[in-house]
Symmetry: C2
Subunit: 337 residues, 2 copies
């Protein structure tokens, strides 16, 4: 494909073109050691302690969807990104870009959702900003949250830390968020309603970290889905990853929706799931801790880290075949988060 002179939707997909843009533009120009790690949170030595710092903008359309809304998403996304560095999320900023004409009723609903989600996650919104742009120059509401968390002493969790022999764990079923947005956007209804899994996972992760000191990597498989996330980890750590198709939980309704619409759940976004790469010997302890949490009841061990096929993810299919699953290329569902 010829290189585009302009930014494409796929540059925001979370997949290949996103990675390229981030690597060749932002990391290349603004290079420093922290940014180059390309983790979801930066880990900073500051004021005698270690902090995690992260940011995400949310442009999901529609702003209300089954299982959540843009406000809940904006809190969960940033709480979860902090948690993936092993940090305890503490403080969030909240910046809104509002399109002129947004109903106050909608804004209030979003703010109340932010309040409820922040309370559940135990984080405090301490600073904010509001901009309003002319009608037609944005789409209802965009939200940015940045977050600060405290990294406990001795914790070293990073996408760079996967080691051959480690097990790949997943906190529950995949594809729920993407298919919920898709259904809402297109006006589809299913016999069993598909709801977004959008949830703050800091409690789940705290429980996992109490159960084991050998969690090497944590990452939430959002844009680009499970496969893209695993590819990122394989590349960051310079290892291979093998997963079993049969072990990956997918809800029946989501599977059906994916089949009908031609999506592969492995590439569909999640907003309340966590991938953990854990030392083999601690797998059972971590699994027990995950399943005891409301957001980890369907947790499963789905694969392992290998010496072989470095930087690649291999899927063992239902029929016993093995195929390489690459990161998302192109854009599946724009504005999923």
């Amino acid at each position: 494909m010829e290189k585009s002179n302009t930014v494409l939707l796929a540059h925001g997909s979370g997949g290949k073109l996103s990675q390229e843009l981030v690597r060749n533009m932002f990391v290349a120009e603004l290079s420093n050691e922290t940014l180059s790690r390309m983790d979801d949170s930066a880990c900073l030595e500051i004021g005698g302690g270690r902090l995690a710092f992260t940011t995400d903008s949310y442009v999901v359309s529609p702003i209300f969807f089954p299982g959540g809304d843009i406000g809940k998403l904006a809190v969960c996304g940033t709480v979860n990104d902090l948690s993936t560095s092993g940090a305890t999320p503490k403080y969030l900023s909240l910046a809104m870009i509002i399109e002129e004409g947004l109903a106050f009723e909608d804004l209030t609903r979003v703010v109340q959702s932010i309040k409820a989600t922040a309370a559940e996650a135990g984080v405090c919104i301490v600073t904010g900003d509001t901009k309003v742009v002319n009608r037609g120059k944005a789409d209802k509401l965009f939200i940015n949250t940045a977050g600060i968390g405290v990294v406990p002493l001795g914790v070293q969790i990073s996408g760079c830390n996967a080691r051959p022999g480690d097990r790949v764990m997943l906190s529950g079923s995949i594809g729920d968020h993407g298919m919920a947005i898709m259904a809402q956007r297109e006006g589809f209804t299913f016999k069993v309603p598909v709801e977004s899994d959008c949830a703050p996972l800091n409690g789940l992760i705290a429980a996992m970290m109490r159960a084991s000191d050998n969690i090497h990597v944590l990452r939430d498989p959002t844009r680009g889905g499970l496969t893209t996330t695993l590819n990122e980890i394989a590349a960051q750590s310079g290892v291979g990853i093998e997963i079993d198709e049969l072990k990956i939980p997918v809800k029946d309704a989501v599977r059906t929706a994916c089949e009908l619409l031609g999506f592969d759940p492995l590439y569909v976004a999640n907003e309340g799931k966590m991938v953990a790469i854990v030392a083999r010997e601690d797998t059972d302890k971590v699994l027990t801790a995950m399943r005891a949490n409301r957001y980890g009841v369907d947790a499963a061990v789905i694969g392992e880290v290998t010496f072989e096929h470095k930087n690649r993810v291999v899927l063992r299919t239902e029929l016993g075949a093995r195929r390489i699953v690459d990161m998302l290329s192109g854009e599946l569902l724009p504005r999923i988060c």
Copy 2:
């Protein structure tokens, strides 16, 4: 005026309606002690130290203008907001919402400007996010930066700390940024070109703080201009403020542009100026320090804090009259920053 059911452009003006929205919606719903102070930065006790934390989204149109661009603005704005709490700015996040179709050439120019400004300010961009939305759902490029700074031991600078007898100081001429944007947007040209004053002021503020331990308030008069900022401070501190029209520096070109277009420079946005409220006895020391810095050569003492007319700002005019100058109501220039 009847209360609107929808968000108006004036809710993003930085003036009265912005204050109402922030107070009645965000602070009311998400209330906590830090947020309720309504300073430009939150001051947090974390990891044994004190940190400043702030966020701003930038939606300026056009994205390139005389004296700067949206990237430079995004770094300066957040660096300056951190500095107003007396913090040393350290780390920035960078989140971009890009409209599909933005030229890579433009994006590159913005990123290079971010790089140069961050280098000048001595801050490091450590985490980021990129979203792309469909053509027509945003306007070229919106940027959010959040920032973390370290507050030195013993420093207590807040909009709440102005005391009667303090002097009001201003680091230079007002109205440059707003008029530069206005001229660019409307295609006006002036004999003497009007340029944005957009600049990182952390060096200036560090010099002021070395000169005096008695700087009570710092704030950058951005949206809503000098008058809105002084009104905010008067209300936060529960004091009156009197300023002298003749002592406020305004460049000739800006004054002419304002007269032609019907703007009052007191309400026009600045992006490289600082208001300081300083104990009377330290005024000279601080003024000397300011004038020795490239961003403070035109610094002046423009007024004082009073017991009288609590919560109000009074302007002594050229002709010796006195009038109350309220905060901006309505919207002067949408998307100025």
